[in-house]
């Protein structure tokens, strides 16, 4: 186990370096699917929909066409609330390309009231106040501004305990 191979470069070795930029011209046209399609329509109308599996009784949120546990088609659409509870969160001070953020982004998993699941969204809460178990409330874009996107909810703020 002596003299293992592998040559670590030092910073000065790459003061001058070639970078090949490659910007692929790729476009994707993702279809929404049946379940998320209806979910997005709901967002445009300012409503949140889950879908119930009558076998395990879970109200799947975000909705899906099938229950992965029971492996059956899911059943009826259920409108759920736009309030919930913080399951977990982070205060993120960097972007994906390691740029620093002065004010953190606050991603959170939010358990939506009236559903059996959580989903990923953004919280806008004082970093000193936020905690797991906190009640939150969705803040929506105005009716005319909504496009049927997950970002039709701008973020979640502290709700009534």
């Amino acid at each position: 186990m002596k003299n293992l191979r592998g040559t670590g470069l030092k910073e000065k070795d790459f003061e001058r370096e070639f970078t090949v930029y490659y910007k692929p011209q790729l476009e994707y046209r993702w279809d929404t699917g049946l379940a998320i399609g209806k979910f997005l329509e709901g967002l445009r109308d300012g409503k949140l929909f889950g879908k119930k599996c009558n076998k395990c009784k879970r109200i799947l949120f975000p909705p899906r066409a099938f229950c992965e546990r029971c492996f059956v088609d899911t059943d009826e659409w259920i409108e759920v609330k736009d309030t919930g509870t913080i399951n977990t969160y982070s205060l993120c001070y960097i972007t994906w390309d390691m740029k620093q953020l002065k004010d953190p982004q606050i991603p959170a998993v939010i358990e939506i009231d009236g559903s059996s699941g959580g989903f990923l969204h953004i919280a806008k809460i004082d970093p000193k106040q936020i905690k797991i178990g906190m009640k939150v409330q969705a803040i929506w874009k105005r009716a005319g501004e909504r496009t049927g996107s997950i970002t039709d909810i701008k973020y979640f703020v502290a709700g009534e305990e």
């Binding site: 186990m1 002596k2 293992l4 191979r5 592998g6 040559t7 670590g8 470069l9 070795d13 790459f14 970078t19 090949v20 490659y22 994707y28 993702w30 929404t32 998320i36 979910f39 997005l40 799947l60 949120f61 975000p62 899906r64 992965e68 399951n87 977990t88 969160y89 982070s90 205060l91 993120c92 001070y93 960097i94 972007t95 994906w96 390309d97 390691m98 953190p104 982004q105 991603p107 959170a108 998993v109 059996s116 699941g117 959580g118 989903f119 990923l120 969204h121 953004i122 970093p127 797991i132 996107s149 997950i150 970002t151």
Partner: protein, 389 residues
Amino acid sequence: MKGKAAIVSAGITKFVRRAKETPKELAWYAAKMALDNAGLSLDEVDAVIHGTAPDAFDGVHQKAEYLSDASGAFNKPYIRCYVGGGTGVMAPIYGWYYVASGIFDTVLVVCEEKMSSCRPHPQAAFLTIFDHTTERPLGPNLLWIFALEMNRYMQVNKIKLEDIAMVSVKNKSNAKNHPSALLGSEVTLKDIMESEVLAWPVHRLMVSPISDGAAAIIITNEEKAKKITDKPVWIQGAGWCLDTAFWTGRDLCYPQYVEYAAKMAYKMAGIKNPAKEISIAEPYDPFAYKELHHLEGLQLAPKGKAAELLMDGHFDKNGNLPSSPSGGLLGVGNPIAAAGMMKVCELFWQLRHEASGRQVPGNPKRGVAQAWGDLMQVGTVIVTGVDKP
């Protein structure tokens, strides 16, 4: 499984921040070292298995095919293995089932990763793992999910951040004695706690560094193993399991899929009480909390109690159950697939008393190595030991 499979040789490169070598050259070093240590020529290898992470890291489509010559696959049956971060332990499992099933006598398993080529940060290569409709419009980055999981794990189990930081202290210290190590050093709890907060509660020194490197092993059947070495390390059990990709709907405080994978491997190995019957653990530690999380999933600590055992010295190199004596990903480095394989190599060296300054005391009989990945959903587990299964 009727057939027996043994690891008879291992090879590894240095793990470095950025290697001058190409991915092929790194794979070649590790593959050649494994062959030389076994005294085998390539003619004696029936098939090659290659573990490597997303093509996007290298910007090379069909990366495994690109790497094939360097891994010794010229004109041979060749199999790529890729399950995200779980790859480094899954690739040896592929090797095990090809040999134990009798399809091949001898296989060379090579894991390689060169992360430094991807600019500005290889994290970008992972961004498409998030759901394109319900998550990507929110602008997620990969650190989010680890920070979310770590926070949940800490809150549910009431674990102190300082205790999690001690995993970094332990592993970076262990890595001082690993000849491949990128970050082996004595760091203090204060250093860890005062390092930059990337995504609270994740601090910079609680994250393994992106690295370049490769590692390889040779797996062969009982008859051939006897001819190659008098100290074969037997593969006693293997297990793997995948949890749902609807990750926000499960409780991140406990890796249920690791438990299922571990139980599959333990059952195969005839292990009833893993905490007593395992001598060395190499759980996957890309983040400090993950080592504790995984020790619980591996049934080597009660749920939520791994931190207490850590603080009692239970997982130290000289403790009752040394964990990551290699130095882990936090200390040796994290070239994804090669990092998991490094853990399998570590068990090989430890069980043969060839780990020099890292050697755990006593007479270790059996070890477990584990890796994890995808959307926090895959557990891959291998049990190796000195006794023939």
